[in-house]
Amino acid sequence: MIFVYRPGVGKTEPAGVEKMKVDNVFGPIDIAVSGLRSQNKQMEIVSSNIANARTTNAGKGEPYRRLEAVFKSDSDEIAGVELERITRDMGDFSRVLDPGHPEADENGYVQMPNVSIPIEMMTLTQATRAYQANAAVLRRYQQMVETTLELLR
């Protein structure tokens, strides 16, 4: 699964992938929104991992393989964040001794997904905090501009 999508200000451009243009006046807003979207995607991935933590058959005779998100930024200057791709964790599957299981092999072992719940919970906390931080940036910047506009009263 490879996702490449980028947020941006929807100006008229021909159909295709949109570019992340950091609008000058509202730069912080667009950047914060890109952060919110990215953390949203991160949450989706974490929820998929947790839900499938014990899925022994994810098709092709293999258990569920853990997914990870890779984020990147458009430039090394002021820019937002975007999800570059979703990679699979190629670590080894764990094997559990359970001879009665329908998926057990000839030695009685079942292959379980390489998902570690503590790690997923940690990622969950990180994503939540990052989401809150981005939302705070959005809110505070709005207050800042409104304060500036108070000078016009």
């Binding site: 941006g8 929807g10 451009e13 295709g16 919110l36 506009l149 016009l152």
Partner: protein
């Protein structure tokens, strides 16, 4: 300097922002609708083009309009609306609206002050 006054431009900007708010409400309502593409209002580009194509431009041919930006990422069911993007657009829209209202207010009160005869 164009022969369109700044008051008329500000009023057009306000109208564009009101239209944009309706577009955003529509987008948010259709967050899950399959096949729905988000709506936006074309105003700034029109104004920019008119300014850059020489000083004078005719204000009559100058209406903000709804359009579908064709460059957003589309999900599997054909829908391309994101809640975070709409929230960001709403914040920008309300800030712009506030700015235009206050600037317009300043202009009107200047005119009033000038008319106020002793």
């Amino acid at each position: 300097m164009s022969k369109t006054s700044i008051v008329e431009l500000l009023e057009a900007g306000l109208k564009a922002e009101a239209m944009r708010q309706r577009a955003i409400a529509n987008n948010t309502a259709n967050l899950q609708t399959p096949g729905y593409r988000r709506l936006n209002v074309k105003f700034e580009q029109l104004l920019n083009k008119a300014i850059e194509s020489g000083g004078e431009f005719d204000f009559e041919e100058f209406e903000p309009e709804f359009y579908h930006p064709n460059n957003t990422a589309v999900k599997a069911d054909g829908n391309d609306v994101n809640l975070e993007v709409e929230v960001g657009e709403l914040v920008k829209n309300s800030l712009r609206h506030k700015a235009f209202i206050r600037l317009l207010n300043k202009k009107y009160s200047q005119i009033e002050r000038a008319i106020d005869l002793r």
